[in-house]
């Protein structure tokens, strides 16, 4: 199916998300849509898939204009989208989920189509497993098959490689090539250049809501794409990563056992020095969140003691700020503005809002947030929300504990987040973070703790590790020697 987009516009309040976009996507190809966070990629895709309505402009399929504006209408004309978080019903089996959304009578028919696609795409899904038993990558595979069974001719994937394993990524790329060979149109949204290079037939770059140049056939030189994505900023030298010198002990952990419903760490003892950046490495779910929440005082150890600044840690502390991975639900109040957040943080019994507003304007400048003081945070892009969260951490914070500090962000946004974190660290704040991105852990940490199989390592000096040796430790090779 050939999609023609003409003069598409979309704004949220004063923020223009898509500005006069015109582009064609030919059938039988994989089209990369590149741009940094907040460039307008997701907005464009959400309009195609009917989640957002168009402010103006038109969409034509095979030359015939279609009326979108509701997911069901997009599905009916054959446009299906696999979101960043697959929307499915966890207690249903794979087949039940597909049947619920497929609008096809006859379970045998669905089972047959499922088996056929499963085989063709090289997935190894077992149709009677419940969704809640699957990994993110497998749920994504289910979504893809569901859309294909529903008759989608256009498949939109929004940052599909976030949170899936390398093997699943290979399987996904293979499947997408097969789908394109079947004559279908694949729109592949990402901010990762190498993925576009490896997979896509064409590349379309968005920047600040507008199309940069025109769609280009791959291959295109990396520098050209970078220039398109970031403009002149890409030419700026990246800042140098400084080393921080620890001073004094912040946490004393003594024979601590940390336990959650399905995980148990320890017993172990540790002393953690202040004023440095500590990276937690390991496969996701190896206890990093549990560890961070204990350092924050949000959870108390099953046994043993944690002392913070030489005092027993008995509950969450205001000067130890924890940034959860699910920021939109746990980190900020989506319908409230920056002004209201600042008012919540800085308690003045009766604040007419003016001092808060002054402060917000300062934060917007300092942290380069694209927002007005009174706009609800839910209307900002991911990168801006993340910068806003960072901006909202009070200067008095001694500790910032953060999960996936730059997940889902493009290189520029990620670097600017790290720039702020490093600044904070230089001024004496201790940063403890975990990331699935090995390179990120290696680049920004002064010290590293490796999590593996319910245990954690000593605090390792970053300079004693290489990316390869760290990767081996995460996989358990040689872990016994560094174990706590």
């Amino acid at each position: 199916m050939h999609i023609s987009i003409r003069n598409l516009c979309k704004a949220f309040g004063n923020v223009v998300a898509n500005n006069d976009i015109s582009v064609d996507f030919a059938a039988g190809q994989i089209h990369g849509i590149l741009g940094e966070n907040g460039a307008g990629k997701s907005t464009l895709m959400k309009m195609l898939s009917g989640i957002y309505t168009l402010d103006s402009g038109a969409v034509a399929i095979n030359g015939n204009e279609v009326l979108l504006g509701a997911p069901i209408r997009s599905l009916q004309v054959g446009i299906g989208m696999v979101g960043q978080d697959p929307l499915d019903i966890p207690v249903f089996t794979i087949l039940q989920n597909i049947a619920a959304g497929a609008q096809i009578a006859g379970h045998t028919q669905i089972a047959d189509s499922f088996a056929a696609w499963n085989a063709l795409l090289g997935f190894e899904l077992q149709p009677h497993l419940r969704i809640q038993q699957l990994t993110v990558g497998q749920r994504q595979q289910v979504e893809i098959i569901r859309l294909l069974i529903t008759g989608s001719q256009v498949l939109i994937l929004d940052e599909p490689t976030t949170g899936i394993s390398a093997a699943q990524k290979d399987a996904l790329f293979g499947a997408l090539r097969t789908i394109a060979r079947e004559g279908k149109t694949v729109l592949f949204v990402t901010h990762k250049l190498d993925e576009v290079a490896a997979l896509c037939d064409t590349v379309t770059v968005l920047r600040a809501g507008s199309l940069v140049g025109t769609q280009a056939q791959m291959p295109v030189a990396k520098d050209v794409i970078l220039q398109a994505m970031f403009g002149d900023r890409s030419a700026q030298a990246s800042f140098t990563v400084g080393h921080h010198h620890p001073n004094g002990t912040l946490w004393h952990l003594n024979d601590v056992v940390m336990q959650s419903a399905n995980l148990r760490l320890g017993p172990f003892s540790q002393e953690i020095a202040a004023g440095q950046i500590i990276g937690l490495a390991g496969l996701e779910g190896s206890g990093q969140t549990l560890y961070l929440q204990h350092l924050a005082g949000m959870r108390l150890p099953r046994s043993g003691s944690i002392r913070f600044l030489n005092r027993q840690l008995v509950g969450a502390r205001h000067d130890a700020v924890y940034l959860p991975a699910d920021r939109l639900h746990e980190g900020i109040i989506p319908s409230m503005s920056l002004v209201e957040h600042v008012q919540l943080l800085h308690k003045h019994l009766l604040d007419p809002g003016q001092t808060a507003r002054q402060k917000v304007l300062q934060l917007i400048r300092d942290y380069n947030i694209k927002a007005t003081p009174d706009i609800a945070l839910e209307l900002l892009s991911g990168g801006n929300q993340q910068r806003a969260m960072l901006a909202l951490i009070p200067e008095s914070a001694r500790v910032i504990l953060v999960e996936h500090p730059t997940r889902g962000l493009d290189a520029y946004s990620a670097e600017s987040i790290w720039h702020r974190l490093q600044e904070r660290c230089t001024r004496g704040t201790t940063v403890v973070f975990f990331s699935a991105d090995l390179e990120e852990v290696m680049t920004y940490s002064d010290a590293i703790i490796v999590f593996y199989g319910g245990s954690l390592s000593r605090i390792l000096d970053r300079d004693t590790l290489t990316e390869q040796s760290l990767a081996r430790l995460i996989g358990g090779v040689g872990f016994a020697e560094v174990m706590q």
Binding site: I333, P334, L350, L392
Partner: protein, 341 residues
């Protein structure tokens, strides 16, 4: 432009409610225009009817103002009838201690405070059970309504029954000197609407102009996020429930002191639930509490004239109010769906 958009949902809702009520009236061969005329203006045709309307509006205002705080904290306080009832019972317990020659004003103040405290305590049970046993405040609140009603019936027909015979008309009336003074020959006691308006103003200020109010709203919108921002979310939610319960208890005490002058079997008489209707209608936005309470009071008091002048039962105003709330909720949801799209 923006104001016009804000007014869309209410306008649609009023039209739908009028239409649906007309249909109900038409199916019973009643004359719709005159019925609406009586409903909307019946309460304003004589001083005594205005008085009835005011004495209904005051407790309703207290309940709706309280609910706008508990709703802001994300709590559905369906137990408000029970909180009002318990407020009435406890204030009655205070007033029964009065002996001739006592300082009336002191008894009034203690009775009103005791009523408010009792309502707050009743709401506190809901809030604590919600926090510590994870039972929905809706179920706890509804359950406690029955307990409160049973408690008041027990007092009316048991320990506090009239000498010789228990009566549906309530306990022995309080001595005349304890009755709140009325204006002229009407049934309006100045103190009742005055207290209601002061409480509304206070709640408005609390919710819209103080840090406490901002924190209550934040807790209602997202508990984990507000906790992360340093807001004591659980405490704010419990406090919001206590404040709402206090307003309801105060309303119950005012009914005893100013309207019934006794404890009657059904003291709350649906005023709490009508307050819930008002809160739902205006999305618990405290700015609209006063006008909507006035409208509901006018409709309810006005429709009392219906059986006399048109031989239509007064409950038709309930049909209109019900349709109004339903249509408003649907219209609002519909518009927000359209806007999100």
């Amino acid at each position: 432009m923006n104001n016009l958009r804000l007014a869309r949902a209410p306008l649609i809702a009023i039209l739908v409610a009028l239409l649906m009520t007309t249909i109900v009236l038409a199916t019973t061969d009643a004359e719709a225009i005159s019925a609406f005329t009586v409903m909307f203006s019946g309460a304003l045709t004589s001083p005594s009817r205005v008085a009835d309307m005011v004495m209904l509006a005051a407790p309703l205002l207290l309940c709706a103002a309280g609910l706008s705080i508990s709703f802001a904290a994300g709590q559905y306080n369906l137990g408000i009838e029970g909180q009002m009832t318990v407020g009435g019972v406890i204030s009655m317990a205070v007033l029964r201690q009065y002996a001739d020659g006592g300082n009336v004003a002191v008894y009034w103040i203690i009775a009103l405070l005791a009523g408010a405290l009792a309502g707050a305590a009743w709401a506190g049970v809901v809030a604590l059970l919600k926090q510590y046993t994870r039972v929905s405040e809706i179920f706890v609140g509804l359950g406690l309504n029955f307990v409160a009603l049973g408690f008041s019936l027990y007092m009316v027909f048991g320990p506090w029954k009239r000498p010789g015979v228990a009566s549906m008309s309530g306990t022995e009336p309080l001595p005349d000197s304890l009755w709140l003074p009325v204006i002229g020959t009407t049934r309006v006691t100045l103190i009742t609407p005055l207290v209601a308006v002061i409480v509304l103003a206070l709640f408005w200020f609390l919710l819209r102009a103080t840090q406490w109010g901002l924190e209550v709203r934040a807790s209602g919108l997202s508990q984990p996020a507000s906790r992360r921002l340093g807001v004591p979310a659980v405490r704010r939610m419990i406090q919001a429930m206590l404040v709402c319960g206090a307003a309801a208890g105060l309303a119950g005490a005012l009914q005893v002191l100013g309207v019934y002058h006794a404890l009657v079997p059904n003291l709350a008489s649906g005023i709490g639930f009508m307050g819930l209707l008002v809160a739902l209608l205006i999305n618990a936005d405290i700015r609209f509490v006063a006008p909507l309470v006035l409208l509901f009071a006018v409709l309810t008091a006005g429709s009392i004239q219906l059986p006399l002048s048109l031989s239509i039962d007064s409950s038709i105003s309930g049909v209109f109010q019900g349709f109004l709330v339903l249509a408003m909720i649907v219209a609002r949801a519909f518009i927000s769906i359209k806007e999100r799209a």
